[in-house]
Subunit: 142 residues, 2 copies
Amino acid sequence: MFSKTCEYAVRAMIFIAQKTKGGGKIGIRDIAKGIDSPEYFIAKILQELSRKGLLQSTKGPNGGFYLDKASMKHSLADVVKAVDGDNIFFGCGLGLNQCSESHPCPIHHEFKKIRKQLAQMLEKAKVGTFTEELEIQTFLRR
Amino acid sequence: MFSKTCEYAVRAMIFIAQKTKGGGKIGIRDIAKGIDSPEYFIAKILQELSRKGLLQSTKGPNGGFYLDKASMKHSLADVVKAVDGDNIFFGCGLGLNQCSESHPCPIHHEFKKIRKQLAQMLEKAKVGTFTEELEIQTFLRR
DNA sequence: TAAATAAAAGAGTTTTTTCTCTTTTATTTG
DNA sequence: CAAATAAAAGAGAAAAAACTCTTTTATTTA
C-alpha cells in the first residue's frame, strides 16, 4: 500500500506527536527505538519532512524533533503525500497513465470509491489526535 | 498500491480473457502490445501464473495463452494474491508485524474497513466478466 | 522426421528502494 | 570561547524490484 519509507514516516510523526505534546523534544535515537526503524534511515526521512515544514527540529544539546501547533494539525494524508506523492489517492489501480472518467480502466469506477475512502480516512486523522491514548506508543513498534 | 508486476498481471489476465473467450489462444507478443508492457517481463509473470494454475498455455505453432472455464471464474483478488501475496488484504497499514485486533496500531480499525472493501471489490470482479465490453481492450494500454 | 513455432527456463543487467556511515553545521553550556 | 551535543548533509552500499536476453523444451505441420 505505502512504501516502507512512508510507513516509517507516519509512525514517526505519530510517535513524535505523542512525545512532544507537552512541549519537549525528542532525539532521533529515541524515535528510531520507539517505532522500531533503522536509525539513520528515519533520520533522513525526517530531514525531508522537516524541510517540507511538516515537523520542526533544533540542533545542539537539548535539541531534537518536535511538532509545533500548526504541525499537530497536519493529517496523515499530508505525511503520505509528502513521502509517496498523491498517486495512491489519484492514480489508476492498474497503473495506467491515461485512466480517467472518460477513458476508464476496467476497475476504474469501483476503485475510485476505495481511493476516496482511504483519502478521507487519512485526511480526518490529524497527527495531534493520537496523543490521548498514551499506551498507543507500544503499538508503533514491530 | 500494487507492484508493477501485479498491475501487469491483472491487465494481462483481463486482456487474455477478452481475447480467448471465443476459444482461441493469444501469443505473448500480442499480449505485451495489448497491455503496453515489456514483453519479456510479462512473459515471466505469466509463466508464474501458469504454474499456479491461474491461466493455461500451450507451446508450439498455434500455441499461446488462454483461460479455461475454471480460470475465467478466478477473481482479480486471486491474481493479486498470486503475485503480491495477501499483505494488501490483511497487512497493517503502518507496516507493523504484530498489529491485530487486540494489539492495534493507531489506524488499525479505520484501515480495516478499507482493506475489506478493497478485498470485496476484487473478489467480486471475476476475470471472465470483463469480456462483454469489447471496447475495454483499448483501456488496458497506457 | 526435420523445420518452424512458441512458451519455459536459466542467467543475467538495470533501476529503484532501503539502509549505512562519515563529515559538517548549528546550538548549548561550562 | 572551547567542548559537547544533536541534527543536516554528503556520499555512498546492500537489497529488492523491474526488466532483458539466450538457450531449452514442447508441439505442430509439411
